[in-house]
Amino acid sequence: MHASTRRTYLSGLILAAALLVVGFLLPAWLLFTVTKAIGYGLVALGIITLMRGGLVSFGQGLVYCIGAYAAGLLATRIGVTEAPLLLLVGMVASGLVGLLVGPLIARYRGIFFAMLTVALSMVLYGILVKMNAIGGSDGFTLPEPTFFGWQPDVGTSDLALYVTAVIVACAAATACRLYYDSMAGMMALAVRENELRVEYLGSSVFNVTVRNFAIAAALGGLGGSLNAMALGHIDPLFSFWTTSGEFVFISVLAGHLSVGAVFVSALILELVRSFSNRYFPETWQMIIGIFLIATIIFLPGGVGSLFQRVLKRGPAAGRGESAENEGRAAP
């Protein structure tokens, strides 16, 4: 195995182990917050995958919601409560939607691409609100998940879901890191820099875009099904544009350099939200806004660029990922 591949697997394993240990020390409310943040982080991981190919989706609520509803319907209609299975179904359902939608919008760029994704998510929102058979605008409640036949009691179910979330997140982050560092991942960076040249070297920009969109969709579905279980209740707001906006916020705060940063950013968002709700009601959007402005001005590469500075990766590992250029138009 290549040295960098081994390092990626090892980092994933060590991080998973550390987070699992931490889980047994955290209070229940924090466990819930972290689990929910992991769900958000998974969706944002999809967005940074797209960002590496030069695109941003402002409508990831679409796949987040599809993942949640797929898991929710499977649990309530068919009675499947196995958490790993619900996660898998949420991921596959959204991934398939991504594969279907991707080719239709892959030729659009910039604001057109972003607005098309918003439009699609709002169409889904509109449909779900009208579908009274599955709860309409109220949504519906999910049964408690089981884990390989084991039904945890009320005290341990948060921990069980946290453990599941950590394993899923570390696996997803590891897979993404391997993809980013692969030739396929490098091709996505090349697409972002110069589409014309990618085609003139004989590679397909369209394929790269569809692939990234499908990966982002699958990750969105994974996050959606996880949060459906964490919250125990889903409704059409999962597909609302403000939800998508939060995913974009997390992604911009994280930057696309590090796969771990999305989870840190998601946790920052969740913590700011719960603390300001408790101590300074109605101010959390303002605090989040200030965070975002500070990030764009002082840390254009996102939280992930801090990690990179600390870890100091080798010269070949940079792969054209300059943090400095982010967010600024080329001359």
Partner: protein, 265 residues
């Protein structure tokens, strides 16, 4: 080097941009292994010709045949996959990446499949990229972001990336433009040395007539979208129409004012 096999043929190509005639009645046969240069003032239609051959622009009418097969409707990617590669008048590079990474992307793009879980910087890829840089004497720049590199180096890198696929036909759009006069010959020498081992057919746009004479078997002279001369370098350069409209060497009595300046620009 040159054989009798026709590798590329342009038949009756026409292309207009509104009132501008960018290509008119272009009929060209290129023999395999030939070194063909395109000359002509700015706006004469040289780049348009390359854009049509590589599928970036569709001719209004006419056909392009590659090894006898019609490729007129193919896009640049499909043309590239058939072994026609090009460099650009303005180098098309991945700016934040290093020179080495730029070539690695070219290598990746030329592979049929690539693994998602194998790192891009596998030893064999890096070695292949380094070897290509070395052929163009670019190894000192391997780890520099290309946005920081001087014009001539960027030109060479642009060509090196086009060569990764071992193309049958290599189109070079003004390889020596934007480079100081005394750097032009060494640059062209580097390019031709890098190509020496290949039986590649080269079509290049050039404004310096000394380079044209030295490095091409045959010259096409363009004027207002038409090919006004097509022959050996010495024949073309002594053609009165070429001297009048392209090289501006016909003497002060016949040369249009500023023609020389235009041709050099």
């Amino acid at each position: 080097m040159t054989s009798d096999t026709v590798i590329l043929e342009a038949r009756d190509l026409q292309k207009r941009f509104g009132a501008v005639v960018a290509a008119q009645d272009i009929n060209v046969k290129v023999a395999s292994g030939e070194k063909l240069s395109l000359i002509g003032a700015n706006g004469a239609g040289k780049t348009t010709f390359m854009n049509m051959v590589t599928g970036y622009l569709k001719p209004d009418s006419g056909a392009i045949l590659l090894e006898g097969g019609d490729v007129t409707k193919l896009n640049p990617r499909q043309i590239t996959q058939r072994g026609v590669c090009r460099s650009f008048q303005i180098p098309q590079l991945y700016e934040p990446m290093t020179a080495l990474e730029n070539v690695m992307v070219a290598i990746g793009a030329s592979g049929r499949r690539f693994s998602f879980f194998q790192p891009a910087d596998l030893n064999e890829t890096v070695e292949q990229a380094r070897a290509m840089l070395k052929r163009f004497a670019l190894d000192p720049y391997a780890h520099r972001p290309v946005s920081e590199l001087p014009g001539g180096v960027r030109k060479l890198l642009d060509i090196a990336m086009a060569l990764v696929r071992n193309p049958k036909i290599l189109l070079l759009d003004e390889p020596t433009s934007g480079v100081s006069v005394d750097e032009k010959f060494p640059l062209m020498e580097t390019v031709m040395e890098a190509l020496a081992a290949e039986a590649v057919t080269v079509i290049f746009v050039e404004h310096d007539m000394d380079i044209v004479t030295r490095y091409s078997d045959r010259v096409l002279a363009f004027y207002q979208g038409q090919v006004i001369a097509d022959d050996d370098p010495s024949e073309v350069l002594s053609d009165p129409a070429v001297q009048k409209y392209v090289t501006g060497t016909a003497g002060p009595a016949t040369a249009p004012a500023g023609a020389e300046k235009e041709a050099e620009a």
